[in-house]
Subunit: 178 residues, 2 copies
């Protein structure tokens, strides 16, 4: 069982600007032409777990549903999903241990954890095993940070680093539990 | 002329813990046995510029003065330095443009900018050309951040990445001015 994060941040560690915008991701237009490993990453993933806000953000794009894998949306308020997504999106709630139990019992063990709030909650309970961060090298100066506050320090190791088009770097970290 | 930063941060971007401590830098003891490029970096440096707090922190270590290069300490309150450092440490004050002028006029052009507050002030005025960050892969959860807030976003490029002992990653970014 493994919980993985695969995300882009600014050089100063933000996942969105101060208004929640991600237009700065396009500050290096070539990024859309290169493979930063998302397909390879998701090929090892059984299901995606996201928070309600991230789910609503994805819906707001008005594009075709972008995920082939089952998506679990963690929410205590969301009651239903658009009918065309009923076979693809499943609302769950409970504490993180409970929802992981539910997901594991359905046979999904390699999980992709997405969304700022949910990632921070997973980290706070030391439930993240792997974090791949693609750094878009821009200093935004303000925004929504990837990492939040927690009281216990957590040790990782960087196991891989990749430089793309001499501009963008991707670092992969794995949790070391002693 | 170039202003460079060479610094270590935690995975969540802190240069010191919440009490200003840096004991977590030793969370990977092997780091003291490897060359992460500090000597190569300083071989291209003419002088070091630091803030008063960083200067006082270095003095508080009670060790032999660790810098061979001239050190400029930016302070409006510090009046004198310990007598044994008089040939090595120079107090300057003024705004950043003024102090850079003073330093350049003395023939020092390749500058190493150090200390959390001073680095943030340099970035706020877009005066940093190069940032090398060695990421110690620990999530501290709280601390003193490397990057601060500013209103204008600044574009960089990652030009080099190096993985040390399959644990620690170092990313070098250079400012791109259009």
């Amino acid at each position: 069982m493994k919980n993985s994060v695969f995300i882009a941040t600014s050089l100063d560690g933000f996942i969105a600007d101060i208004n929640g915008g991600i237009g700065w991701l396009d500050s290096i237009p070539e990024i859309n032409k290169i493979d930063t490993g998302y397909t390879a990453f998701t090929s090892h993933i059984d299901a995606l777990v996201m928070g309600r806000k991230t789910f609503e953000t994805v819906l707001s794009f008005g594009i075709e549903w972008p995920y082939k894998m089952p998506v679990f949306v963690l929410s205590s308020t969301l009651k239903k999903v658009p009918s065309e997504l009923k076979q693809k999106v499943f609302v769950i709630n409970g504490n993180l241990i409970q929802i992981l139990d539910q997901i594991h019992q359905q046979g999904f063990h390699q999980l992709y954890i997405d969304g700022g709030t949910l990632i921070q909650n997973f980290i706070r309970e030391d439930l993240i095993d792997e974090i791949t961060i693609t750094i878009i090298p821009i200093l935004l100066g303000a925004g929504i940070p990837l990492f939040g506050s927690h009281s216990k320090s957590l040790a990782f190791e960087c196991v891989k680093t990749t430089l793309f088009i001499d501009k963008i770097v991707q670092n992969k970290f794995v949790r070391v539990r002693s």
